[in-house]
Subunit: 229 residues, 2 copies
DNA sequence: TTACGCCTTATGTCTATATCTTTTGAGAAA
DNA sequence: TTTCTCAAAAGATATAGACATAAGGCGTAA
């Protein structure tokens, strides 16, 4: 077969990184590139589309394609289920339900999850262990108005995250990462000192506009979220 | 025109999210789908390729395409330059160089950056302010063996990050996020209390296998990294 | 000078067809 | 029964040609 779109992409990227195509400069159009590579325009198109997708180049109809002055640095972050995360570390995963209770939503949560006045929530507290040591503390609230079957479900064996993923798999979500100081309770659960700086993720999940769940995931001391790009 | 790949993608996604195509079930092959949508196979291919890219479906040659049991949750994280980050918040950006000195690499850094015995580094300490308030503390080391021109450069007006991006734009990098406790120095810079939990990013950057720079970015108290998916 | 509108151009997308590659599963051989 | 080999299936990708769409820029009118 003739030249592949991967080869075209690699060659263009080489020209860019080696300075043959300077940042800010405009590139030849697809027709000319196709001619010079001796391939079809669609092949060049796919190569350039992916480079644009990677944030290396910028494309505009009629204006043409140019090398970005400041390439967009982006990473793809996979959000794993904690059990998988731990098993990928090569550690044994254990889950424990600490506490589970249906209750009226407290005011701060009502506001945060945009719940109605009388909505009830299922409040779950769980722990996730890697090789017996505390790994993550999970504090979760599930909107019982949106997901009444959660109240009947027994969360002592499988975690709420896994249950939710299999029950309402295709949801919208917002995730945020930040640092928190361990309070006495969390310090106890995660076997660290009160006041320790801990990495925490918060996630809110919606299905068709309705808030399904809000969760705070607090990681053991020293946890890092690492990515390549 | 006939049906677009976006419409095919949207329709397939609708079928998946509404349960017409259950998680784990296999989808019709490209030829059949193209026939049923009344479009070319390439159109269906692009739609399905993007769905696979989004982690919704799983494709394997000969085995066919199936809806993922556990859809991969992934987000794209843009790594902005701090100045842009602050200006996008609608705040005024100010940069200050606190300290800059060329020195032999300390042992811990030599190990971390994989430097040779006698390599020297440029150690820069900078502050980034949003509307006059401390936003981010930057502690950076630049490998002078790889980038000798850094020693001659004056970093009092533009930050090292911006200079590096314009000098060696296309690099490989690893970034990691975690939580740290503020020590006395950082607390002073970021106007917080010693012991406060702070969000920190560490980034190591390579160009063609050679370590260029290592940086620790410590954010003001309460900083959050937020993403939608 | 300024504003509007058309023309041209580069990218975006679709079609129809063909070939390549990977992988599964069936059948043959041990 | 187990292992090996091979053909078929399905996705991956290439091609040539066509039309769609956005937008830069020029010409004309106000």
């Amino acid at each position: 077969m003739s030249i592949t779109y991967r080869e075209v992409k690699a060659d263009l990227l080489r020209q860019i990184t080696q300075g043959e195509l300077a940042p800010g400069s405009s590139m030849p159009n697809e027709v000319d590139l196709a001619a010079s590579y001796g391939c079809a325009r669609a092949t060049v198109n796919r190569a350039m589309r992916e480079l644009a997708d990677d944030g290396i180049i910028e494309r505009r109809r009629k204006a043409g394609t140019r090398v970005r002055l400041n390439p967009i640095r982006q990473v793809r972050l996979n959000i794993p289920i904690v059990g998988q995360e731990i098993e990928e570390l090569g550690a044994a995963y254990r889950y424990a339900l600490v506490h589970g209770q249906a209750e009226p939503a407290p005011n701060w949560l009502r506001a945060r999850m945009a719940l109605k006045r009388d909505d009830r929530v299922l409040h779950l507290t769980c722990m996730h262990y890697a090789d017996g040591a505390p790994y993550q503390h999970e504090d979760r609230w599930i909107n019982l108005d949106a997901l009444p079957e959660a109240e009947q479900h027994d969360f002592s064996d499988i975690g709420p995250n896994e249950w939710l993923v299999s029950t309402v798999p295709f949801t919208e979500a917002q995730i945020s990462f930040h640092a928190v100081q361990a309070d006495a309770t969390i310090a106890d659960y995660l076997d660290c000192t009160e006041g320790d700086a801990l990495f925490q993720a918060e996630r809110m999940t919606w299905l068709e506009g309705q808030t399904i769940t809000f969760v705070q995931l607090t990681y053991r001391r020293g946890h890092r979220l690492t990515m390549q790009y």
